[in-house]
Symmetry: C2
Subunit: 690 residues, 2 copies
């Protein structure tokens, strides 16, 4: 152990290490190596730097610490336990009031423990973001830093430095190899996010071996190229050097910082130190003994927190955090008097609430047989809301003009680091051609209270699924705005035409996928999703114009809230056949209904913009929309048929796409693949045996 550590520091660091290896050994599963080697830096950061009150873990101006190397979860759980972070997430409160008890640590990776295999946001207080999938934590931290800059630029006033939090992310080689990390790093450098610090635990070992079998690039030079400040630490155990590096970050006000720490995986384990074997499996009982002996711990005792360690956390991190938070609360009280309007907004942000009049200007759209694209309608509705809710901000992956997510209300502004293009108080984000990074960044912004949105063409959600999944797993109220939603985008052809994306997204637990049929359903989708305090929504929109239905002759668009509804029923009694469509295909069903009527066939048209919401309705409601006794059904969606049998039933016909698309003008594509009113009517007749 380096000489620069005080005795108590050494004891605390080794407590983190031994708690980690004991928990992993008991679970017989886990990743000790990084928890052991990165313990000193995490400890130094928490004890000396992190502005965090363990008794108020949701304080809005707290520093954030993201364990991007999520497999080292025991490192984080040990810290949460030793720091005495109190349980504050909804839904649990143990007898001690602690977020992580020693019993949780003893039941690491068991059902019910607050110490699952990888850190889970919302399950364990003190976990700022769910991590484990590599690259996600660092990318998400960029969103948190963006939020910090925006909050400061928007709400700080002379004498009121309300927001000045920093964001730290601890990562390993994996996070830096993953493309999502690279995308986010490039964006962070562009935006000069000086409140962001990545700590790279450069232990030179990955699962399959030493990192030099795959990763020989010059990380320092790469980050320099991105516009980052690069700081090196030569000895991962030297607290003085670590503190110096963290101070160098604090002193840098014009760019993000990466601290590259030369470390030894499995530090403390005489037999596995510096070997891939330390990465992803328990040390084994014998090696645990030897490690404890090396670290000066009793090898016959387990889960030991030596006297003085918890107190040491309390007297440093805890008292500093409590003090800072108390001062902040006092400052905020004064701020609320001086700037009541802004203070109210901050409270709304904190509580994930909306201003009362948030929906006052949502337009309704007049009936129009030509209509407008739902992406166009979305742009109008989004702007009407964003003008009322200043913390609605977002943008697209270089297709904002095309996905119609540009905020153009007065003073919407652009989020940029420098003057000519915009500033940190701007609302239009420019994510660049970085879909995966974008979605991770938006997760970080939403984790920070903003109602942030991402946007791209539906097809390129394929690039971002890692982060989209995390928005669902974390149950975050992210707004995904995805356009160009079918083969009907036409000439760009099969590389750009979604086919399998709708089914893929519907398969994801928790994600609400809404594909509105017209402009008014689009408005209703916003009405529905904006008040969400949790639950991500994917709004899936057309490139091409679709008719705006005449609601005086049809059911109101508010039916969208139930996921599916009878848009227009058969004239005169029980329907012979039910036509079920989503999005642009609803208009085909309506036209087919009229054609069928001429042949004396009574057709009901069901608009089904959201299957997830429909499934949540009562059986009675579902039966009223899709009566079981009407087996003649046609479902119509220009996408993979996967999942449509559920609604078509055994006698029904599913009109979908079993192949990729085709580069040709919209009309040609529609006819080629049979998405016309004629074909819908034909299918309806077939289900009726005609």
């Amino acid at each position: 152990m380096a000489q620069t550590q005080d005795k108590i520091d050494e004891l605390a660091i080794n407590t983190i290490r031994t708690l980690s290896i004991d928990a992993i050994q008991k679970a017989n599963s886990g990743h000790p190596g990084t928890a052991m080697d990165a313990a000193p830096v995490a400890y130094t950061l928490w004890q000396q730097f992190l502005r965090y009150d363990p008794k108020s873990p949701h304080w809005i101006n707290r520093d954030r610490f993201v364990l991007s190397a999520g497999h080292a979860s025991m490192l984080l759980y040990s810290l949460i336990h030793l720091a005495g972070i109190e349980a504050a997430d909804i839904g649990y409160q143990d007898q001690d009031g602690l977020a992580v008890t020693l019993d949780d640590i003893k039941s690491f990776r068991e059902e019910g423990s607050r110490c699952p295999g990888h850190p889970e946001y919302g399950w364990t207080t003190g976990v700022e973001s769910t991590t484990g999938p590599l690259g996600q934590g660092v990318a998400t931290s960029v969103g948190m830093a963006i939020a910090g800059k925006w909050l400061a630029a928007t709400y700080n006033k002379p004498d009121f430095e309300l927001f000045d939090y920093n964001v730290y992310a601890l990562c390993g080689e994996g996070c830096l190899m993953e493309g999502v990390g690279s995308e986010a790093a490039s964006l962070a450098g562009h935006l000069k996010l000086s409140n962001l610090c990545w700590i790279f635990d450069n232990n030179n070992v990955t699962i399959d071996g030493h990192a030099n079998i795959t990763f020989t690039e010059d990380v320092a030079k790469r980050f320099d190229a991105y516009g980052w400040n690069v700081v090196r630490v030569s000895d991962a155990n030297d607290i003085g050097e670590l503190a110096g590096a963290l101070n160098a970050f604090l002193a840098t006000d014009d760019k993000p910082t990466i601290i590259i720490i030369h470390s030894h995986i499995g530090y403390g384990s005489p037999g596995k130190h510096d070997t891939p074997a330390a990465h992803g499996e328990p040390l084994g009982p014998d090696e645990v003994r030897r490690t404890k002996e090396f670290l000066g711990f009793d090898p016959d005792k387990f889960f030991v927190v030596p006297d003085g360690v918890r107190e040491h956390f309390t007297s440093h991190m805890g008292s500093r955090g409590a003090d800072l938070r108390a001062k902040w609360e006092a400052l905020f009280a004064d701020y609320a008097r001086a700037h009541p309007e802004q203070a109210k907004q901050i409270e709304l942000i904190r509580d994930r609430e909306l201003p009362e009049d948030w929906d006052a200007d949502i337009p309704s759209f007049d009936a129009d047989p030509t209509g407008i694209a739902t992406r166009q309608a979305s742009g109008k509705v989004l702007n009407a809301i964003a003008a009322k809710v200043p913390w609605v901000l977002g943008g697209a992956a270089d297709v904002a003009g095309s996905t119609k997510v540009v905020l153009d209300y007065e003073d919407a502004g652009e989020f940029q680091s420098y003057g000519e293009l915009g500033d940190y108080a701007g609302h239009n984000m420019r994510y660049g051609i970085r879909e995966h990074g974008m979605c991770a960044v938006v997760n970080g912004m939403v984790l920070s209270g903003l109602r942030a949105y991402d946007s791209c063409y539906l097809i390129f959600t394929d690039y971002a699924r890692g982060s989209i999944r995390l928005s669902s797993l974390m149950d975050l109220p992210v707004l995904h705005i995805w356009t160009h939603d079918s083969i009907s985008l036409g000439q760009d052809g099969p590389t750009h035409q979604p086919v399998e994306q709708l089914a893929s997204l519907r398969a994801m637990p928790g994600l609400v996928v809404i594909r509105p049929a017209d402009a008014n359903e689009t408005a209703e989708a916003y009405r529905l999703m904006m008040p969400h305090k949790s639950r991500p929504v994917a709004l899936v929109l057309t490139r091409q114009a679709v008719p705006t239905f005449d609601r005086s002759k049809m059911a109101p668009a508010s039916g969208l809230a139930k996921g599916a509804y009878v848009l227009v029923d058969a004239d005169g009694g029980k329907p012979d056949v039910i036509l079920i469509g989503t999005g642009s295909e609803v208009a085909l069903c309506v036209a087919a209904r009229d054609m069928l009527a001429k042949d004396g066939i009574k057709a009901r048209v069901v608009s089904m913009p959201c299957r997830e919401l429909f499934e949540e309705q009562s059986d009675d409601y579902k039966r009223s929309v899709l009566p079981p006794e009407i087996g003649a059904r046609v479902t119509v969606e220009e996408a993979s048929p996967l999942g449509w049998d559920r609604y078509a039933g055994p006698e029904g016909i599913v009109l979908g796409m079993n192949t990729f698309g085709l580069s040709a003008p919209l009309k040609v594509v529609s006819e080629h693949f049979g998405f016309t009113p004629e074909k819908v009517a034909e299918a309806a007749k077939k289900t009726l045996g005609r």
Copy 2:
């Protein structure tokens, strides 16, 4: 126009430009900007450097040119047309024998044209890879370069330099912003792929504006950090400078090269030059006129190829290519005499064939109630095949030990650039923690004739869908080997437990998803997929052991080839209920069948490892497996239920996962989510109303 161009060069370059803008104007859709600014470099490369015989476009040692900026498709189509590349892909041969006729160009982006919106491999000869989704082309080019290095290291002999092809990829800002491009670039630098040249058309404009709104990193420094040779061209129109840069690439033998070309989007268009408006829409009739006037073309004529231009291509690129190819064929004839065994292998690679005895050593697995994980079985079968087929090579995204894809037959070796770790003749690829890059690289390797495989945990296919989709769209015989296929991976928890991935992948047209139930089905899956000349296969495998079924009492595993089969039928007559499982859940069904038998209920167990293959069977076969009259059915899969209604039918029960998973030991997870024989039996009784 720069003085350094000869008259005929200038004429040829401007022909590319005017063909491009005419086609885009006529289609009223497309991306003229890059086609215009990058015409000189593409022209210089093709005319002076590319070793490519237009009359033999599939020559195995040809240089590859990948248009990674696929939206500039008209640039490529113009070159293919002017170079006179002959149609050689299966399925088309027009009257001229040309891959792209002037009529194709005139019908750009129309149905049937060989000039679709983005370049499509297999549809248009001369297109080396389908591009358009940004970053894919550059990443795929890395795989082509890897293949080139492997072929050279494996088959070149003294006096027989059979393989020495180079790979060029032309890209824009987007390809460099996308993470998949970064991953591939880092890998290419690590592997020191000196046969790889990326040409970065640095026109500083993206769709939403000038690139400086999102992309201000120092690209040259970043690539230097990756270990690349960086060359700059200050004037995109200076052929001499361009040729100098390409010669600098040729002179570099220890690293890949990126040529950064300072260019002006929409060059030649007086009104749109250097503006985002030049990127993604037709210039407009007036601007087309003005551009032609600027370029010295008659504004009243369209689709003009001036006299001498085609001939100029023939006399340079064409004659050089024909000469090189003829010499190569002679060399290969000599080689075949000197090294008949190797020559035979090269022919098999070229024709996507396998050696006759490729399957001779595939093991069969003895019945065993404990069994082995299907990933274990896969490892044994893969090795048995790879030892017979030297061009089977691949690896994993840093989990090779875990996904069991390490090739351990004698001399399998490791693919590395340097001696201690391996060399270019090695078979074990180390892709690093770069799933997206990995899958794109494998596409490039397979496009080059190798039977390459990728491997990672199933969950992380989410990171790679962009490239997986392209393997399907290009119909490539890629082997995807994905393990840890369900919540049964246990303690790593919900971030690592797949739920929606199976449905997501099944929704993708063309991809064959196989989830074998035991070791012998795993072997059958390899038997089935190895002979594929097209069609990617995703093998989805368990982490945990599953019983190896006693086939003396059950149907043979060869039933897998039909996608689903009756593994074991009800004893004594017609079944009361059908239990349908995939992968590890088949064993649950078998156990449930035995439990039900004790209650006098006759259950049939259907193993359904592959839905795609089952759907291709005759109706008779399908009805024999799933008789319509038996409505009592239970489907069991530890994954999203999406799509299972199709087989469960209206009376059946779908056992699946409607939520994310849980971090706990396997047994606890299974019980928590109800994946036990008892629950399957219970569901069966419920369908029977008991």
